[in-house]
Every structure is written in C-alpha cells, then in structure tokens.
C-alpha cells in the first residue's frame, strides 16, 4: 500500500502523541496512581503503535509495542511507575522522537534498533510482574498485535462471555437481586460482522432486555454503544426473573445478532469480586473492548484537545467562514463603488463615494483582524515541551526544581512562535543552571528546598510579555561589574557610575558569562546575547530584573504581529517616517526655552522625568532647511523604562501600515526597522524606536 500521502498526517499526529506522552508521563511520575493519566498514556501509545505499524515503520512499532506492554501492566495495577521506569520511558520517547526526525528528513525510519531501551523495558516488565506467570504476560502482549480483535474473540471463546468490571453499587444491586430470588446474568452479545447499523441493533437488544428485567451495567457504556463506538460485541449485566435461556432467545431474535452468550452471576462471585476482579480482568478481559474504547476516547480527546501546530496552521473553520464573509463584503463594496461612478448626479456621487470608502475601511480592518487571527497560535505549542526539559535538567544537575507555567493560551503570530522556542529554552536553562542555587544552599538560605521557575505569558496592549522567573540567588551586580572590568568590557570609571540596570544589561553582551564553571547546559558564553539578538530580530526586546538572594526575572516583550502595525506618520523635511504606535508614550509641544543641557546633551524635564531629546533630522541626516517655529513637536517613545523624545517637524497622523523588509543588500543601521508603502505609492521608512533610544 502506498502510504506516502499519509506521511504528513502521520508526522503531525505522531508529534501530537509524543507530546501528550511526554506530558502525561511527567504527571505519572508525580502521581503514579492517577488512573486517568495511565489510560491516557495507554491510548496515546496504542495509537502511536498502530500508526507506525500502518506506515510500515517496524522498528518504531516494536519500540512502542514494548512501551505499551509496560503501560498496560501499569494500567492493570501490576506495576508501579518507578523512577527507574520513568527514566527508561523517557529514553524510549526520545528514541521515538529520533525515529520521527529521521522519518521527516528521509521518509525512512533509519536503522537504529534501540535494543538497549527495549531490553531495559522488558527487564522492568519481568521484574515488575515477578511472580506472575508467563502466560499472563503473553496474554498482555497478544492484544497489542494487529490481529487483536480476532485473538481476543478466541480468548473468550470457551465461555463466550466477557467478564465485566462492576462498580460497588452495581455489585450490591446484584447481591440484593440475588437475595430476592432474581437471576443475574452477564451476557455478551455478538453482532454479525456484516452489520452496518450496529448501534441500531444494539438498541434493539437493549429494548428486548429491558422487557425482561433491568440492565444495570454495560461495557462499553451505553453512550458509547449509541455512538457506535464498539467493535462487534458488547457485554451487559442483566437482572431478571426469567431464566438464562429465555434471555438468550430473546436477544438472538433480534436480526443480525450472531449469538448471545449468557452466564449466571453466582452470589459468591459478587462477594469476592473485588479480589478476583483484577486477576480475571487481566487474564481474559478482551482487548477488543479496550480497542473499541480507545478510538472513542481519543476521538473525544481530540475535540477537547489543543491544536498542535507544526509547519502548517490549523485554522478553525469558523475563522475561514469569517474571512469568506468579509471577502464577499469586499466585493459588494467594490460593486458599490462601480455603481456610484456611473451616477450622474455629482452631489450624490460625492456623498456615496465617501460612504463607500468608510464601508471599505471597515471591511479591510476586519479583514486584517481575521487574517491575523488565523495566523495566531497559542504559545502552548512552544512551551509544552518545557516541563520535560526542566525535569531532565533537574535530574542532570541533581537539583530539585519545579516549573510553573501560566498563560499558555496567550496567542502569538505564527512566525514569532516558530522563533521564540530556542530563546525561551535558553532562558529556562539559565534559570535552572545559574539562577537556582543547589538544594543545600537553598536550605541554608532558609528557602524551600525545591527551587521554582515560573514561565508566565500574558498580553499587554499590543505586546505579548513572557516572563521567565526563578526564585534563586539573583544576580550579583558587583560580580558582573568585576567580571566586565576583568574582560575589559567596561572601564573602571564606567563601573563606578553604572546604574544597577546598566550593569545587568551587561549580561546581554556577547561572551559574557558569570558562571564559574562551564557546564553542559550553559556557561559557554553563547548565551543571553544570542537570546537578545534573536528576540530583537523578532521586533521584541528583553530585559532582566534581579533581586540579590530572591531571584531573577527575564522579561521578553514581543509584538503581537509582525506584518501590520499601527504607526504614527511624521514628517522630517520632505521625508516621511513611521513610528510604531506601540513604542509611543505621548506627544508633547516643547518650547525651545524648556530645553535644558546636561553634559552638552539636550534634555527636557517632563512631569518628573528627565528625557533626552533626539533630533531625528540630525541622526537621520535629513537634508536641512531648518524650519524655525516657536515650539518643537516631540514624540516621546519608550523602550522598557527608558524614555526619549524624538524631535520631528510635523505630525501627519495615525495609520495602519504593512511592514516590508528593505532587503539585505542595503546597509541597515538598525534605526530603520523596515519600510512601508503609503496610499500614494510612496515608500516611507519605519523607525525602530528601540534602536534609537
């Protein structure tokens, strides 16, 4: 079978499953008893195996198969998720990820067998099961095989009745019924495999049974049966005053029912059910049921699940409908303009024209928003792999730490999401490695032994802010200064006059690391400067705040979208420039007499702030024919806490602009963040306030 057309889907879904496995195993490590988690893991592993098998990736299938065996044992309560096991499982996941990477690159899974992982898994499996006999294990393995359904049918062939798991209240109901001389049966109904409307048949069976007595339990659940989420059989527990034969006949009378197998429930079975249940369950419980439950569950999971995005963006159909609507409106608006053009009455033409323009404007604004929305992706896609990473670091450094994340649903533009992963990872590693003290130091300092790292994301106006905070030892400003002096980055005079903030900014200089020893994780000097340049390339900025002894916070500020922004258009001589509205604080009229001088630099004093003035004409070399007016128009821009006043000739107004690159050949001194095309076709340059301040 040619499966290449499914390769993309396979890759997407495998990523999804691996991510979910990573997350769930982390939970499992913390709460080994969490049944939901175990089920989730089992489902993910199972689908993964099935998918790998379908695509013909034998090695991948084998590894997942062995992992699944372990999960299945855990699920059945035969094994505990020991730390050792979790380690091996993570290794297995890493190996699977490697397979996937190889597949992405070459379409083939490669030749790595990962025997050691498989061996380790099997060892654990054997150890864990210990006394449990071999057949049990075999039984656990068979169901996983592709022929599971058939095998399972065979397994239960002797009695034809599949055992069911009864809840306590159901057991007591059975006990009560038995004491009242009613009969209790477990009945497994097999539907013909050719049957098309399984749910309908099942419904008729239920109806027939209800005439006889009460159905107190069914496997799969009634809901699942109604939704046709079962294979070709289901099992019910029936309380009735009729005998087994009557019930059997009644059910088999329903057409397209292959057979019904009935078994009486004995009183003692109910009494000892809790004890026996596990074992019985283990040995004969059909996996067909599990299998049928699995797709159902994963289907449910998918609807509630989070969108996971790789190279493509999954777009909500509603969003597309919105877009479609807007486009049709756009066409209507165009037609409106055409018809106005043919109107003879000049006055009517004028007013209608303006009306249509307004209409058009409304549509384009909405259109812009809608398109942007389709490009937005929750940062969850990036951050969801961090808990696992922190866990690994924690093990590696032998430092106890915990990662707390919030605001994962915050949305960012696709292009930003793609780029932000590495810098964030770097900062987290930094926090884990340099930020947090060792456990002993923490105890000595009177802090909780386990270090905390926080990753918070939230939207702030037109920006998205991501904070990486640790409650570690903080950055020693004096130490940085000393280091910078040693390296010759700053002069002693500079060191003396440096503010704390300036000193911390030194961290972002190239090859500046305060770590005494270089570790595998960080400290090689390729660090925060790379983070900074990457974030700045995205149009954002990063700053650090620290309190000695209490921790460090890195604050990353990113623009919501890259392509279209609101900007203030200003005029300098004959040239027009755009200043992104996001960085503008206020616009002031300043009298020349208000300009003060500090170290021959022009500043103004504004509401308690001393703000340096920047003559844009001068730094942009605008051909001078100086205008002398009684007051200066000053645009106050901010970069973090720093303010600066940009002196401009004229304000043109606010405008929505599309950012375009000015190409790589032309020398860009960073002051120019790009260019945009104005309504009249003219090009205006966009000033990057961050670079100017």
């Amino acid at each position: 079978m040619d499966v290449s057309q499914y390769l993309e889907i396979f890759i997407d879904e495998t990523r999804e499953h691996l991510q979910s496995l990573n997350e769930q195993i982390l939970v499992l490590e913390r709460e080994p008893e969490n049944v939901d988690t175990i089920n989730e893991i089992f489902r993910a592993a199972h689908s993964l195996k099935g998918m790998a098998g379908t695509m013909g990736y034998k090695r991948m299938q084998r590894l997942t198969h062995d992992m699944e065996n372990v999960f299945s044992e855990i699920r059945n309560g035969k094994m505990k998720a020991s730390p050792k096991l979790v380690d091996v499982l993570f290794k297995g996941l890493d190996a699977l990820e490697q397979y996937l990477d190889v597949i992405v690159n070459s379409g083939d899974e490669g030749t790595e067998d990962n025997e050691d992982i498989i061996k380790a898994l099997n060892e654990i499996l054997n150890e864990g099961l210990g006394a449990v006999s071999a057949p049990a294990e075999a039984a656990a393995a068979t169901p996983a095989a592709p022929v599971a359904a058939a095998a399972a049918t065979e397994a239960v062939a002797e009695s034809g009745v599949k055992p069911v798991k009864l809840a306590e209240h159901e057991q007591s109901a059975i006990a009560k019924a038995l004491s009242e001389n009613l009969n209790a049966f477990t009945m497994t109904v097999y539907i013909q495999e050719t049957c098309i409307l399984k749910a309908a048949r099942a419904f008729l069976v239920f109806k027939a049974l209800e005439e006889l007595g009460t159905v107190i339990h069914s496997e799969p659940s009634v809901q699942d049966i109604e939704d046709e989420r079962f294979e070709f059989d289901f099992t019910v527990v029936l309380l009735t005053d009729k005998d087994a034969e009557t019930a059997k006949k009644k059910v088999e009378n329903v057409s397209e029912i292959k057979m019904a197998c009935v078994e009486a429930i004995r009183p003692e079975a109910v009494a000892s059910a809790t004890v026996e249940e596990a074992k019985e369950d283990k040995e004969t419980k059909s996996v067909a049921q599990k299998e049928s439950a699995a797709p159902a569950a994963s289907a449910q999971q998918k609807t509630t699940g989070k969108p996971v995005v790789n190279r493509s963006v999954r777009v909500d159909i509603d969003k597309l409908d919105d877009l479609m609507n807007l486009v049709s409106e756009l066409i209507i608006a165009k037609n409106g303009l055409v018809s106005i053009n043919t109107t003879d009455v000049a006055g009517l033409r004028e007013s209608g024209f303006n009306e249509q323009i307004e209409y058009l404007e409304r549509i384009t604004t909405n259109l812009h928003q809608s398109v942007m929305k389709t490009r937005m992706v929750p940062i969850e896609n990036v951050v969801s792999r961090f808990p696992r990473m922190i866990r690994d670091i924690s093990k590696k450094l032998d430092k106890k730490m915990e990662l707390y994340m919030s605001g994962e649903e915050t949305e960012l533009d696709r292009t930003v999401i793609d780029e932000i992963g590495d810098p964030l990872m770097h900062m987290l590693r930094n926090a884990a490695d340099h930020g947090l003290e060792s456990n002993e130091e923490r105890i000595k300092a009177g802090k909780p032994e386990v270090g905390s790292i926080f990753l918070n994301a939230y939207q702030d106006g037109n920006n998205v802010v991501i904070e990486v905070r640790d409650d570690g030892k903080g950055v020693d400003v004096e130490k940085i200064k000393k280091k910078a002096l040693e390296k010759g980055t700053i002069t002693p005079e500079q060191a003396a006059t440096m503010t704390e903030k300036e000193a911390i900014d030194l961290l972002f200089r190239p090859s500046f690391s305060t770590a005494e020893k270089i570790s595998d994780l960080s400290g090689r000097g390729v660090g925060l400067d790379v983070v900074k340049s990457k974030i700045e390339a995205l149009g954002g900025d990063v700053e650090a705040k620290t309190v000695l002894g209490a921790g460090t916070t890195f604050i990353v500020r990113l623009p919501l979208t890259l392509a279209i922004i609101q900007a203030l258009m200003v005029e300098l001589g004959n040239e027009k420039y755009a200043i992104p509205l996001g960085s503008i604080q206020t616009i002031e009229d300043v009298l020349p007499s208000d300009i003060k001088y500090i170290q021959t630099k022009e500043v103004i004093h504004l509401r308690g702030n001393v703000i340096p003035l920047i003559r844009l004409r001068k730094i942009l070399d605008v051909p001078a024919d100086d205008v002398t007016s009684e007051s200066l128009t000053v645009v106050i821009v901010a970069k973090g806490d720093r303010l600066a006043g940009l002196v401009v000739d004229n304000l043109i107004g606010q405008q929505e602009i599309v950012i375009k690159s000015i190409g790589k050949y032309i020398n860009n001194n960073k002051m120019i963040g790009g260019a945009t095309i104005l309504g009249d076709g003219e090009v205006a340059l966009i000033l990057d306030a961050n670079a100017i301040v």
Binding site: I662, Y665, N669, M671, G674, V683
Partner: protein
C-alpha cells in the same frame, strides 16, 4: 536560457549607457526595466544606494552605478531607467542607468577576458569586454557589484 543551450557560448546582454561608456548586463539577471520614480532615501546606507522604491508592492533598494564607479552623480532625464536585477530569487536590487540601448548576443569569441586584480576592487565589477560591431561593451559582473556588501560585513 533555451537559446543558451542551443548555442552554448552565446549570451544575451542588455546594453546600457553610463556617461560615455557602454555596459552590458547579462539578461538572465534582469527581472524588469522601469522608469524612474520617487526614490526614498535610506539614512546611513552605503553611499551608492540611492534608497528604496516601491515596485508593485515590493520594496526594492536602488543603487547608483555612477556613484559606485565613481563617475559624476546621476542626472535624471527622460531616458533614465532602473534595471531591476534578481541575482537571488528573493532579493531584487535596482540599478540606475542613463539609458537602455539594446539587447545584443555575444558569443565567447567576441568576449575578451579581463585580468583580475585582487587589490583593485573595481576589477571585480567587470567580467569581460565584449566586442560588438565597432564598439566595445564592458560586461558587468553582477555578483561582484551586488554581493560586495556581504563581503565587507
């Protein structure tokens, strides 16, 4: 290009006028020839970059060959054109020329190699001298002209 395959050695060049010299530009790099339009100055850019223009919604940097070749600055006339060169797919560059003359086909025999002198930056700009009819055409080495900036960086 197909023509190149059939007669391997022959290449087509667009002949442009700069001052009183004729230059040839390999036609495979020429994406477009446009009339002059308003050029937006880019502050602090290289001296030979006049700025950027709007080419049907794309921002394209425009350089002056005259400045680059240290001739007297451009005077914009009715004949002035901007040749849009695409040396790499996603990066277009415009060059300003006094006039676009014609398209000529030159085969290898009528192209004289020029000696390459590493110390002379300007020798990078030429890939050869073409002989056409009576005149000589300096064939421009587009890579040398455009990519130079990257070497500096």
């Amino acid at each position: 290009m197909t023509e190149n395959v059939s007669s391997k050695e022959a290449k087509q060049y667009i002949v442009v006028q700069l001052g009183n010299e004729q230059y040839g530009i390999d036609i495979q790099y020429v994406d477009n020839i446009v009339r002059t339009q308003k050029i937006t100055r880019v502050p602090k850019a290289q001296e030979y970059f006049n700025g950027v223009i709007n080419l049907r919604g794309e921002i394209v940097p425009v350089m002056s060959l005259r400045v680059k070749f240290e001739l007297e600055p451009d005077t914009f006339t009715n004949k002035t054109r901007i040749l849009i060169l695409k040396f790499e797919p996603q990066a277009a560059v415009g060059v300003i020329v006094d006039e676009v003359r014609e398209v000529v086909t030159l085969d290898a025999d009528s192209i004289e190699k020029v000696s390459y002198d590493p110390s002379d930056e300007k020798s990078l700009y030429l890939s050869g001298i073409g002989k056409h009819n009576d005149g000589l055409i300096s064939l421009l080495n587009i890579a040398g002209i455009i990519v130079e900036k990257e070497k500096e960086a």
